[in-house]
């Protein structure tokens, strides 16, 4: 189960499992987001390389127009994946405990 939508704060909220089967859904949503974008990952339980690819592609597109993705409320497991992937050097990331 994966869900992506805007929350009450106007941020993008993702929840569930962002795997290869859900990557297209996430990409189609994020392709419509302009400028700076905060992605609230409070409910995100799992991400694979397909999901990382979605974040990377979107971040590149937004950075080209001086925007970008900020990833907030990232849990420990997903933060480990970001660190292993070097995404901690590319994205502004706030962990759930920070």
């Amino acid at each position: 189960m994966f869900e992506i939508d805007f929350n009450d704060s106007g941020n993008v909220a993702v929840s569930g499992r962002l795997d290869a089967a859900q990557a297209q859904t996430a990409q189609e949503f994020l392709d419509r987001v302009p400028g700076d974008c905060v992605v609230d990952m409070t409910g995100l339980e799992y991400i694979s390389s397909a999901g990382l690819g979605v974040l990377l592609k979107t971040h590149k597109r937004l950075m080209a127009t001086s925007g970008g993705l900020k990833l907030v409320n990232v849990n420990t497991h997903i933060n480990d994946i970001f660190r292993y992937s070097g995404f901690d050097k590319l994205f502004d990331i706030e962990t759930a405990s920070s």
Binding site: D19, A20, S48, S49, H59, Y84
Partner: protein, 136 residues
């Protein structure tokens, strides 16, 4: 557990459900779940995406071992491709130079405590282990 899955990303949710059930039935430490899920998905997706010369189902086998789990994925009727070889992924590259290509197998090598590859009679089998505290 021994089960075959269609060559479709839609099968990922079924593999996840079967893995969850196997962990419960065999009392495998749940702290290993996300690592195991990730490695299975990345290896399965790699087979579906790149082993296009076959339409055979992919066999997934799970076995409880001391302090953990051993998982094998077998693909039939394919050319050899050894995913255990180190991936050429530059995680320090700048944003413009980064791509997601190769990241999946790179993560598998990071996540698995051990991983082996066997190829015989046009059949590829990848086996990995995950144990609590890295005891393989």
């Amino acid at each position: 557990m021994r089960k075959e899955y269609k060559r479709s990303f839609d099968e990922i949710q079924n593999i996840v459900a079967d893995t969850e059930r196997f962990f419960e039935e065999e009392n495998i430490d749940n702290s290993l779940r996300l690592k195991v899920d990730l490695s299975i998905e990345e290896l399965f997706v790699n087979m579906v995406t790149y082993d296009t010369e076959t339409n055979r189902d992919i066999l997934v086998e799970m076995t409880p071992i001391e302090n953990g789990i051993e998982v094998s994925l077998t693909d039939f009727g394919v050319e050899p491709f050894d995913p255990t070889q180190p991936r050429d992924v530059d995680i320090d590259a700048s944003l413009n130079d980064r791509s997601a290509g190769g990241l999946g197998l790179y993560l598998v090598l990071k996540m698995a405590d051990s991983i082996t590859y066997h190829y015989q009679d046009r059949t590829s089998t990848i086996t990995f282990r995950n144990c609590v505290e890295g005891n393989s």
